[in-house]
Amino acid sequence: MEANFDPTAYKMKSGLEVHHQIYTKKKLFCRCPAGLYSTHHDAEVLRHMRPTLSELGEYDGTALMEFKTKKNVIYLLDRQSVCTYEMDDTPPFPINQEAIDIAIEIALLLNCKIVGEVHIARKQYLDGSIPTGFQRTTIIGWDGWIPYKDRKVGIIQLALEEDACREVSDIQHTITYRTDRLSMPLIEVVTAPDMKTPQEVAEVGRVIGDLLRCTGKVRRGIGSVRQDVNVSIEGGCRVEIKGVPRIPLFPTLVYHEAFRQHQLLHIRDFLIGKLTSREHFKGDIFSLADQQDRFHHPLIKEAIHDRGAVLKGIALRGVKGLLNATTQPGLTFAHEISERIRVIACLDHLPNLIHTEDHSGLGLDLEDMKLVTNSMRLKPDDCGVLVWGSIEDTQTAAQEIIARVEEAFDGVPHETRQARRDGLTDFERILPGPDRMYPDTDSPPTALTVERIEIIREKLPPQPWVMQEQFVQEGISPHVAHELSTSPNRLLALKLMEDKGVSPKLIAWALTELQKSLKRKQVPIAQLNDQHWSKINDLVKNKRIYREGLPNLIAYLAHHPFDDPEDFLTAQNLLPLPPTVLAQTVAKISEQNVQVKLYKEENRPKVLMGLVMHELRGRASGEQIWLCVQKQSQKR
């Protein structure tokens, strides 16, 4: 079934949220140094997160779920990288203005409009990933676009926000976070749901990544970029796949999520077909503690004997077939349930359930099945689930299982999911709504003056797609033009080309292909600055050296950045040969090899060309040599 699934047939839509840390000296709301990570810690604090009441006097779905888990949250504190702000024992300091300037620059590059006044909001997260229980975030720009294929992909907004903690472990009721990354400034680029195929999501992700990197003001390296991918199909709903580290993973994840939604819609129809509506569904919870010793299944035995667990049964009335229904390739609806109770009831010792529809051979044997059927009074159209753990956790789990089946009558629940390595996804939490946003009463609004925005606009680097177009017009191949327009050398290339002394193709080659090949040979290219490149450009322009001589010269300069290249060329005898000497050299080499027999005699000029080039190491251009070689051949 999977092989035939075509997401576009179900009006798949996908959008991206790209989070990228930016380069600032200090963090966003305190004066701690930015980008200082370590695995050392000096102290810990313990906190709990309580849901706060929403505007309508109700708890937000995510909030309630996270409160159900009753987690002890431990923060590891490293003296070097955190202060009392990160501990939530000091209110925020004024927002980092350097970060605002960078965010404005990126917003302008994304063709966004800039807000008149920055208002800081709190976005609630009760998973403990931020000690305050909320992330401070603010919109800097909105309503922008980036070009993609022959259309524009909308940018809904660009936000500036503080980064969260790094999770160290999450075992049962204790979750531990490292705080060094907390409050690092990052920007969030939110695209409109304009991508229609899994492949497009990856391609748009690359366009955005290229743009952000070209500013030189975003951080690189592991953990500096995280992407959330939003997916929905017709009749489904927006599901967020959180924290995808690498773009190549996008298409598979998007494809599988579209497939999962399609399957959940099937399951909805299946359930409605059986029971007409969720009101007719009933789940019963049974304590099986007094019978638990009679079970044979090794998982149950181990849990009861080794971990002191109690057994609980949940009868799902009238929905036989549900647990076995496919949701993702190789996974069934039972997996959806298992994931929910792993997160919400803290039953994280997997597998955490067994059900009556597991026919894989790992399920219940006949006697256990009989025991389950009798103790939960299962009718032929019912199915049952067994869970084990503490009394409180199994009770939470049982209620959650019933709640998840009820949700299945509505199709696709609003969820945040986490990416697995195999391209499938696991449940992470319920997707929060706009109700979790509220103003940060600790921070005053900041007006962004027209002057400030204009100063940044004047210094904007060209966008990669604009530059690529310019390079193509200069005659550079689209492939190289793309590479150059997104490389750190992009502005240098532009400057050298403006000089018009050297062919743009040669410049593009030197700054892309040649650099890469020298790097592979461990040449320390980073030692060369813009002045070095200008100098090299002048040497080429003044015909002091030819393309063929560049690798030697550049390698030498990289190793000896304070030497004068002219001295090197003189000392190494690399300056251009006068035409007469060139002709003599060609004649000499031709003579030396006259005895050599060739398989095809007509290739002789080409062979001679190679030999001469090797001998001259770039002291003449290939073109000049070729002319000489041809003359020589005609003489013979």
Binding site: D42, A43, E44, V45, L46, R47, H48, M49, R50, P51, T52, L53, S54, E55, G57, E58, A63, R79, T84, M87, D88, D89, T90, P91, K113, I114, V115, G116, E117, V118, H119, A121, K123, Q124, L126, P131, T132, G133, F134, T137, T138, I139, W142, D143, Q157, A159, P434, D435, R436, M437, Y438, P439, D440, T441, P444, P445, A447
Partner: protein
């Protein structure tokens, strides 16, 4: 149209713009600007903010400010005024549980944030508190009385006397314990005042607040309130206590005696500390562990309270600094002050140029008492000549009374008598540990980062 509620916080240019477009706060609007079109709700503006922006709440929950000079049209398509309502659930009563009365003075011990404005709406009735902190039901039967709605910095002697009377009234009416919700800034002033005004109470009087308001998921409010209710209902200490976080971690609260407690950090959760003594007890949702044994015990057979609701407001604190000029003291004399508390340097000193002014103050009948700005330690004015000279002027040392406590006590004493000897006797006779005879060896513990033993402490105990 020029209704102040409809233009709340807007002034000048922004106000005129809203009036011109017949737009108002809470209006669900479509705004046309040179930057494009926006939909959202117009929010009230902070009165201290400029008059060049209109604040809009976007449908995704974010707020942004739109520059007035970019707006050319505002069209109201709806109106969504925030409704300030907290869900009420009937607070169940159980005859087996203690009856606790919660007196509110304005601290937002339980509250929620209005998502549209950011305003904090206090939860106060039992039903509201039950909605916000459902654990309370398992602890006690709750009765709530709203006395005031003041930020803690605005609480003063009138409130202290009002609270004291209300506490006495509710104890006499049969409460098993009193909890007072209070802002944290001046909680220790109020705690000291209540200690002097309500003497020999039969039940605990527990002050509580929060350092992180309860609209934040990481708030300390709920745990403080739970612990305060447990203390009021079940602890054996019938005194005025402050119940606030012990460590910054969510572990337990400390119970501090009202006369020895002080707020020591502007923002930490564990800001309240007992100075120069050990706290009375620690309390968590599961237990109360007594640290000291010399406390005033709960009585179950009577309901009598000795009430002394007096205060003379003509009292001030002078925080001495090098080169202080005598005119600081002189202006207090000339303005009719009757009592001055000096927070002196070291063992209780001020500079020589102040002597004539202090002499004049004492001679004109002003009661002048010396405390130490070091907070820890005793005033000792015999060690140096300076101290003896100052005492000769008529300045009286107060041992280890905290400056704020001395201020509150002097006002309270002067509310009862102005007789010099009587005042001195009352000042120097402790009601409840405002002066202690001895400082325990672990009464002064200011941890110092960088000491090897502190590094060891952090490494071993982590919090």
């Amino acid at each position: 149209m020029d209704n102040s509620e409809d233009l709340k916080g807007y002034r000048g240019t922004a106000r005129n713009l809203l009036i011109a477009h017949k737009a108002r706060v809470w209006g669900d609007v479509v705004v046309q600007t040179t930057q494009g079109e926006f939909t959202g709700i117009i929010l009230p503006r902070s009165e201290t903010a400029d008059d060049q922006h209109v604040v809009l709440k976007l449908p995704n929950g974010y707020n942004i400010g739109l520059r007035v000079d970019t707006i050319h049209k505002i069209e109201e398509v709806g109106y969504k005024k925030a409704h300030y309502k907290i869900p009420e659930k009937t607070f169940p009563t159980n005859p087996l549980k203690a009856n606790v009365t919660l007196l509110g003075t304005g601290g937002t011990i339980a509250s929620r944030l209005d998502y549209r404005t950011g305003a904090v709406i206090p939860a106060f009735s039992p039903g509201e508190l039950y909605g916000a902190v459902p654990e309370l039901v398992d602890i006690c039967n709750l009765n709530t009385i709203k006395l005031y709605g003041e930020f803690s910095e605005n609480i003063g002697p009138t409130h202290w006397m009002g609270i004291a009377k209300a506490v006495a009234e509710h104890i006499e009416a049969g409460a098993d314990g009193i909890v007072i919700g209070h802002g944290t800034d001046t909680m220790h002033h109020t705690a000291a005042a209540l200690t002097f005004m309500i003497q020999d109470p039969p039940v605990p009087v527990v002050m509580v607040g929060s350092q992180r308001s309860s609209d934040r998921p990481s708030s300390d409010a709920a745990l403080n309130l739970i612990n305060a209710c447990r203390t009021a209902g079940y602890s054996d200490i019938a005194e005025v206590l402050v119940c606030m976080f012990g460590p910054t971690s969510d572990q337990y609260d400390l119970l501090h005696r009202g006369t020895r407690v002080r707020k020591m950090h502007s923002s930490y959760r564990s800001t309240f500390r007992t100075i120069g003594e050990r706290p009375m007890a620690r309390v968590s949702p599961s237990e109360i562990v007594y640290i000291r044994e010399d406390y005033h015990k709960r009585r179950r057979d009577d309901r009598s309270v000795k009430l002394f609701p007096y205060f003379d407001e003509r009292v001030g604190i002078v925080y001495y600094y090098p080169n202080m000029k005598p005119n600081v003291i002189e202006s207090m004399i000339d303005n009719g002050y009757k009592g001055i508390i000096i927070a002196g340097t070291g063992l209780g000193h001020v500079n020589k140029p102040l002597y004539p002014a202090l002499k004049r103050a004492c001679e004109s009948g002003i009661h002048v008492y010396m405390t130490v700005q070091t907070l820890w330690g005793y005033v000792q004015m015999f060690v140096y000549d300076t101290g003896r000279d100052i005492m000769d002027l008529g300045v009286i040392p107060t041992d280890n009374m905290l400056p704020e406590v001395a201020y509150v006590k002097l006002g309270w004493v002067l509310g009862q008598t102005h007789d010099r000897e009587e005042v001195k006797k009352l000042m120097l006779t402790p009601v409840s540990d405002e002066i202690t005879e001895r400082e325990p060896i672990d009464g002064y513990l200011v941890m110092q980062g960088g000491l090897p033993e502190m590094d060891y402490y952090f490494k071993s105990y982590k919090r």
